[in-house]
Symmetry: D2
Subunit: 187 residues, 4 copies
Amino acid sequence: MISDDEFITHKDVPGPTKEEIRCLVMCKSRVSPDDIVVDIGCGTGGLTLEFAKRSRLVYAVDKNLDALNTTEKNLKKHNLDKKVHFIHSDALEALKDIETFDILMIGGSGGDLPLLIEEGYQKLTQNGKIVVTSILLETPVEAVETMKKFQMDIDIVDVSISKGRIMKRGTMMLARNPITIVTGKKN
Amino acid sequence: MISDDEFITHKDVPGPTKEEIRCLVMCKSRVSPDDIVVDIGCGTGGLTLEFAKRSRLVYAVDKNLDALNTTEKNLKKHNLDKKVHFIHSDALEALKDIETFDILMIGGSGGDLPLLIEEGYQKLTQNGKIVVTSILLETPVEAVETMKKFQMDIDIVDVSISKGRIMKRGTMMLARNPITIVTGKKN
Amino acid sequence: MISDDEFITHKDVPGPTKEEIRCLVMCKSRVSPDDIVVDIGCGTGGLTLEFAKRSRLVYAVDKNLDALNTTEKNLKKHNLDKKVHFIHSDALEALKDIETFDILMIGGSGGDLPLLIEEGYQKLTQNGKIVVTSILLETPVEAVETMKKFQMDIDIVDVSISKGRIMKRGTMMLARNPITIVTGKKN
Amino acid sequence: MISDDEFITHKDVPGPTKEEIRCLVMCKSRVSPDDIVVDIGCGTGGLTLEFAKRSRLVYAVDKNLDALNTTEKNLKKHNLDKKVHFIHSDALEALKDIETFDILMIGGSGGDLPLLIEEGYQKLTQNGKIVVTSILLETPVEAVETMKKFQMDIDIVDVSISKGRIMKRGTMMLARNPITIVTGKKN
Ligand SMILES: Nc1ncnc2c1ncn2[C@@H]1O[C@H](CSCC[C@H](N)C(=O)O)[C@@H](O)[C@H]1O
Ligand SMILES: Nc1ncnc2c1ncn2[C@@H]1O[C@H](CSCC[C@H](N)C(=O)O)[C@@H](O)[C@H]1O
Ligand SMILES: Nc1ncnc2c1ncn2[C@@H]1O[C@H](CSCC[C@H](N)C(=O)O)[C@@H](O)[C@H]1O
Ligand SMILES: Nc1ncnc2c1ncn2[C@@H]1O[C@H](CSCC[C@H](N)C(=O)O)[C@@H](O)[C@H]1O
């Protein structure tokens, strides 16, 4: 895992997704060396980098050009840029240009989640995964509802992490916002 | 309950303890109208106010004068100041001047926790309670260890609260730091 | 607060809602001595009892007769039965027979949540509250969506509680299922 | 990751550690292909298997013979047994017979934690890690205290996971007991 503080960030780009959540996303996606991954909403590149280290090819998609540039800088810092193909467009548009993939990571969807899952499901390989992370109450409900329509195997995990900070008077526990990870597998 | 945003605050004084935790402290303390309460580390007055509304008399103790002044302002805003006796001193010192009480609230202890519990236990009435809140890993361990020595009935609750914030794109869940509430009852 | 283990229970009736959640519901509802409360889904009576202690009158509603009988037994144990009016019917039906109330507590809704909130809103007094508790992902989303339509002030709290159990080798933290409490206030 | 339900279990052996925690332990340990790992308290083999897949050699230690047998069965099921060396003894004893290692995993310590960390630190390679998982309040405090003495870089994470269960009436969130993961790095 790459530590959070190793990432180059940009004031207008959210992320990186924190280490513990990146770690859980890698596990839930069951990513393997010959997988093709599509990372919708690459942001600072937190997930794009971890996927690039573990798969064959990653399509990094974001509607915000600053996000793509930031992600590229972080990839180059770890010379992983050769494994990533950048698409500067809206998620739904981007999906139209990609033929097939093993893992669809949806880290940002801006309201198009059901459509993204439907479009993504068609192009997913057998046993392929759609992984949706969210800090909104509504997103996991939408994800589960849509994945049910396609009889996907659905795994839902709500993750609340607190990090200890060692101070003179003791170890203070600082909470992170809870993240829900919904993973759908295509049968 | 008094909402968090109704409190007058001071830049050098922590608090108020958030509504949900103040609420749980009231329940765990089983405070009743004829109780005498000692609030060690009154800070902004969050707990002092709620105890003042529900008990006979509250001793508000803090080593920081700004804390006592802030607590007094908040009490006056809700005309509860008549029910509170202020002690500007270190907790251990303060306890020496108070004869007996039904509830000892320890919201800040600066390392004297075991001594405070020992001193407090002697002056506690039958079925009286010691309530310790903490964001440090070490505090609940110290509290449980010391309360065990006096064969107190011990209740331990770790509370993780996330508050929803309604935004255009959905309801964002924002985590609060986890708080542990240890309550010891004198048999 | 009445401790969880003081409740008479019934194998076919869920509840009582645990002490810490009952405590938070009382706080969020801002229940006061002259309030009329409707408890939809009274179950074992956990919330009905706490409301009965703090309000003028409680309508305890449940479609399961065993729930009403169990709730009545618990009320009598604490001689609070005089303050409660039982309605053995489906929630929507029950609401039709009640003219007005200050607090509508929805502890079980079986899919009728939006309708219950709409019907309840009409009969709610000024500054009255609708409190919805849930362990399902979907319920808080439905509650927030419906309350938004009536421009209610909405408070959303996700509560994760772990209880300490003192064992020989140390204090084991046992998690409770997370509960979301959504409170809507009528302006 | 190997799913929880793929493990062969034994009524007298705790574990396997759940998937999400095994995943986080792998990340926190930064395990790499040429590492030697010591798994104290291998139990059902949950962590032993994941380490075996990612390192050169794992010493699986447990004082309970049933634990070693169960772990061996699970390793054989995934033909990973060649990568594991079994030691049926108390942790402290076992450590004396092992010369050096890159990762010391302490999943069970039965009160010897400080000694285990001290003994382990001496035999740890440069940048080696000690990972301690616990469900007890006291363990992380002891771990942090002891690791501080050796000026280790300390990472403390409290992890609360809830798993969604899809039911007819909605998605029920079921909490797991909170686990604290303390990772010390030798500088
Ligand atoms: N419909 C859409 N199409 C393309 N990008 C989108 C989108 N909706 C949101 N995004 C992008 O999604 C990103 C979410 S932040 C993601 C952070 C990333 N996982 C990391 O580890 O750094 C933002 O950069 C936002 O621009
Ligand atoms: N040994 C000690 N004696 C007296 N006050 C102490 C103390 N250790 C810490 N404190 C005080 O404890 C307070 C903790 S903050 C408490 C916040 C308070 N519960 C509220 O709701 O506003 C601080 O004001 C600090 O000055
Ligand atoms: N539509 C509906 N009408 C009436 N009761 C309902 C209902 N949907 C669910 N319920 C009831 O809601 C209850 C939920 S359990 C509530 C437990 C209660 N708060 C306590 O502290 O004991 C169940 O008894 C169930 O029978
Ligand atoms: N001092 C000690 N020496 C050796 N084994 C110990 C020990 N204290 C506890 N244990 C062992 O530690 C184990 C904890 S359970 C560990 C579960 C394991 N991580 C899994 O994934 O399956 C138990 O099997 C217990 O027998």
